[in-house]
């Protein structure tokens, strides 16, 4: 279990306990957090679960798999700390993770 803070573009914060094994995307979708669309359902086939990972957390996350950057090219305003939240699996180590949601996904 990890406490994850999702911060909407408006600044609205959501602190959610997400079970291990779920993805950061699923944590958001299951808790009705607006700002993560996840159109493709987590198959890394779209870029609508795009998040900006808080800078100090970014290097602590497992590396991107092949293909994630290719999809991020197609995200709305990707930055150096961009990730697809469907590709981040929650574990105890991620307790305290903070992700910012982009202004929009599409």
């Amino acid at each position: 279990m990890a406490k994850i803070t999702y911060i909407e573009h408006s600044g609205q914060k959501h602190e959610i306990d997400v079970a291990n094994g779920l993805t950061v995307m699923e944590g958001a979708v299951q808790n009705d957090i607006p700002g993560i669309d996840a159109d493709c359902g987590g198959s890394m086939a779209c870029a609508t679960c795009h998040v900006y990972v808080k800078e100090d957390w970014f290097p602590k996350l497992p590396n991107k798999e092949t293909g994630e950057d290719d999809m991020l090219d197609q995200a709305y305003e990707p930055k150096a700390n961009s990730r697809l939240s469907c590709q981040i699996t929650v574990s105890d180590e991620l307790n305290g993770l903070v992700v910012h949601l982009p202004e929009k996904q599409v």
Binding site: C46, A47, D73, E77
Partner: protein
């Protein structure tokens, strides 16, 4: 105007199999899709990716699945209306009058929405200043490449479209290619070609830059780009092209008075009809308790929706349940010769 028993919106696997099921029970249908090819997400998003959860097919790619479905519906001679989008629907007595973007009209008692997550549209630049040049000098697809002759063209993107057009247009235009990172995701041969052109000063490349602003008063003059540290650079341009892939948007479906729940359409699980009589929703776009966004669920949903269409298409007939293995009528529809 085209009269048909059912109009299917979306030529993905779910729409294709629903067409098959309509054909099996003797109904005619037409299929409209926004893409220029058949296959939906399977062909647009993952043509080469293997799929492992199609019943009785241990492994196949999105393209193979699509080709097999096309083969399977061949006996029914279904008309496809590609690169078109259903724009407007209107109830007319017991039928729906349907109009598309390209001006086609259909009259049908049944509409089956198999639209996935919506229609694919190019992702646009995030900068508001791009909007005023949209469709004129800021473009997301190319219809006529001659307009770029002897012009300065700035191309954004790192995939095949961006690379292919950079190579092509560098023959007769001043091309600048801009991508947000060092690696390009296009074919290696295109990446090599672009780098060779750069070496020979046939085009310029800036990586780790993204768009900041598009400048020009009435006429496009330049593009401002920025790197991750906020440093910016101004590049003069007559045309700006963006190739950021496609996004999916529900579009006009939102205006048809259907119940919508988080970009999906609630249905009853008996016939997959929506809150509007004669409008069905199947595949990723529909929702109900227990919904799984799997292709196999879409097949099941299409089979039931087809039966749902029957009562509106043939109100005076009773649908008989028949097996393809034994029914002569069904085998005739499949074009099989009976001994």
């Amino acid at each position: 105007m085209i009269k048909t028993d059912a109009l299917i919106i979306g030529a993905g696997p779910t729409g294709l199999f629903c067409a098959h099921q309509l054909g099996i029970i003797g109904l005619k249908c037409e299929i409209v899709d926004n893409l220029d090819k058949i296959g939906g997400q399977c062909i647009e998003l993952y043509p080469d990716k293997p799929i492992y959860d199609i019943p009785a097919i241990p492994e196949c790619t999105g393209e193979e699945l699509t080709n097999n479905l096309i083969e399977q519906i061949k006996p029914f001679n279904i008309n496809f209306h590609l690169s078109d989008r259903v724009q407007e629907i209107k109830k007319e007595k017991k039928n729906w009058r349907v109009k598309t973007l390209n001006g086609k009209e259909f009259l049908t008692p049944n509409i089956v929405i198999a639209g996935g997550v919506g229609s694919f549209e190019p992702r646009k630049f995030p900068t508001k200043s791009a909007d005023k040049f949209d469709g004129k000098t800021v473009l997301y697809s190319i219809k006529d490449k001659t307009i770029f002759k002897d012009k300065s063209v700035v191309i954004f993107g790192g995939g095949d479209s961006a690379l292919d057009w950079a190579i092509e247009l560098s023959k007769s235009s001043k091309v600048t290619l801009i991508h947000r990172r060092d690696e390009f995701r296009g074919a290696q041969s295109s990446v090599d070609k672009v780098k060779e052109l750069q070496k020979n000063n046939k085009l310029e490349i800036f990586t780790k830059y993204s768009i900041k602003d598009i400048k020009g008063n009435g006429k496009l003059e330049s593009v401002e780009i920025k790197d991750d540290d906020g440093n910016s650079k101004l590049i003069s341009a007559d045309y700006v092209l963006g190739f950021f892939g496609l996004i999916m948007q529900l579009g006009p479906i939102l205006d048809w008075g259907l119940n919508i729940d988080k970009k999906t359409i609630p249905v009853n699980t008996e016939t997959f009809e929506t809150n509007k009589q004669g409008i069905f929703a199947i595949g990723d776009i529909c929702t109900y308790p227990g919904k799984l966004k799997l292709i196999l669920s879409g097949f099941h949903e299409g089979a039931l929706a087809a039966r749902g269409c029957f009562k509106y298409a043939r109100p005076d007939e009773k649908l008989r349940f028949e097996f393809t293995t034994t029914s002569k009528a069904v085998q005739n529809r499949l074009g099989l010769k009976n001994d």
